[in-house]
Amino acid sequence: MSLVTAENLSKTYKTDGIEVRAVREVSFEIEPGAFVSFVGPSGSGKTTLLNLLGCMDKPTSGRLEVAGTDVTPLDKRAAAVFRGENFGFIFQSFNLLPVLTAYENIEYPLVMVRNVPAGERRQRVLELLEAVGMADQRDKYPGQLSGGQMQRVAIARALVTRPKLVLADEPTANLDHDTAFRIIHLMKEIRKRLNTTFIFSTHDTRIIGEAEILYTIEDGKLLGREVAHA
């Protein structure tokens, strides 16, 4: 059974009175545990598609099912609950909360979204700090970390709720070449260990080859699907 099923998904919005068809009748399926990338130039509709998948935006038409739930009719609150239960998010600019330490940033979704008991929280956070190689930096604030370190913390935060799906919008765009590779490899490694599904968008040609399933998107349309053979 597919984790994500999109059928004729479209999203149209207006900018300064001009209608923009950001996503046009896109259909695809993603299996659990997949490591998928949506690739395309800037403005091709990757971010809009990821926003739709992450229940942060509603499609204009079409149907979207995630983890067996039709997410298109969810209201704002229900969408927030669904996101908290099923998704992890990794952002291009890391988006860590500057007033929390690395440990506290990872712990945040367990406290503020899931209400996980303290003992279990501590165990999960420490495990992930270890997994992303940030155990020795746990008490540092985001302002004291490098870009790569911040993205590692962001990955740990995305995974700490044990989500079914991690959505990453251009996760390596603000990183140098070596760090970008290390981050993608870290994501793949964690995917293997936890069997979490990763979907990320990128236009970075350096890391496109790392995806196992590659969707090419341009002008809001899916142009093709490639499967990398290991």
């Binding site: 926003n51 992450g54 942060m56 935006d57 704002k76 609150r77 927030a80 609950v81 669904f82 996101r83 908290g84 239960e85 998704f87 992890g88 998010f89 952002f91 600019s93 988006n95 909360l97 500057p98 007033v99 929390l100 945040y108 979704p109 406290v111 503020m112 979204v113 935060r157 995305a158 709720t161």
Partner: protein
Amino acid sequence: MRNLCKIASRNLLRYKRRTLLTTSLIGIGVVFVLVFVAVTGSFKRYMVGQITDSYLGDVQVHRRGYVASIENLPLTMNLKAGEAEKIRSALAGIPEVEAVSERIKFGGMFSNFTETTNIRMNAVVPDKEFAACPLMGSRILEGVKDVSSLQRGKILIPELLARGMKVKLGDTVVIVATNRQGSVNGKTFAVGGILESATGPGGRDGYMHMDDAVDLLRLKEREVTEVVVNLKNGNNLKQVSRRLQEAFAGELNPMGMPKFEVHTWDQLSPFANIANMIDVMTFFIKLMLVAVVLVSILNVMIMAVYERVREIGTIAAIGTLPRRILSLFLVEGFFLGVTGAVLGGAAGGAIILVLNFTKISFSFGRNPVVLSPAVAAWDVATVALAVIIVSVLASLQPAYKAARMEPIDALRHV
């Protein structure tokens, strides 16, 4: 909740200067209100004390309709002995009563044998009058400052009258009065003391012994024009007044109306208007504090939301419910209010303490007024609570705005 508080407090500490400025502004507002309340309250207490303990007493009882015609000092509205007894027994059953004095009030002519002028006389039983008006002695500017200055044959006259009529302590004067039947009688007195004018309607009043008034007015028995009641604690004023009115409820005149009327000092003294004005000013000062807090917190919270749009987008994206986001900003507003109230309360308390040590004094009438500013714990609690509630309310709009943000728009914010 602990985590909400942790995040909120760290966000406040993140902008230390702004937080400091906001809490300082609130604190200064609280200080201003507390010091104002303390100083004006002290002035009010002093003045009320002067008025009630010098002349008016806390409560007065008359025959119904007397106060309306008080300027005429009508002897026809005196209370008969039996009626006065009923008032006495009602007062005896009220433990809050400290002392009671009965007076016969009448208008008369005051003569120094060369000039004559009018005077308002209060005929009293000295012991009882000095007990019901404990500042009576201190009002005696010349003469013995106790009951001996009001023994039979002696009279206390107001200072202005003594000066105008060139009468000195020990001089003999004549009081001429018309009694209820219209017959005129005169009696000589020795000036036993010269009185400082009391603030209020008692400013031109003289005093004599009750028995002298009975002779002068040719009364068959002791009558009473007014009963002055001094309370152990002025805060029980309304309660005692109510109890007296209840006690007199069954006493009706032939018209079926209540026979007696009970007035508290504030119904009799024009200073009550000044006291009310002080209360109104205090209310407006508090309103200004509310405005200061409202504007400060609203401003700072709007800035906080505006500066953290992407953070709000992030936490909303990862599943934080809108009400949690709302709570986060409300807690920040709450902390700002609490900090401002605590700082202001502490600084205000310290300033009031210093003012008590330094003793504020100023001239009000003849005597210098020395204020002892004090603020009740209840007042501090009310002001602090108001500041905190207003802080939370002022945070509500920005917090609501943050909670309603669409994560997708917030994340796009640059």
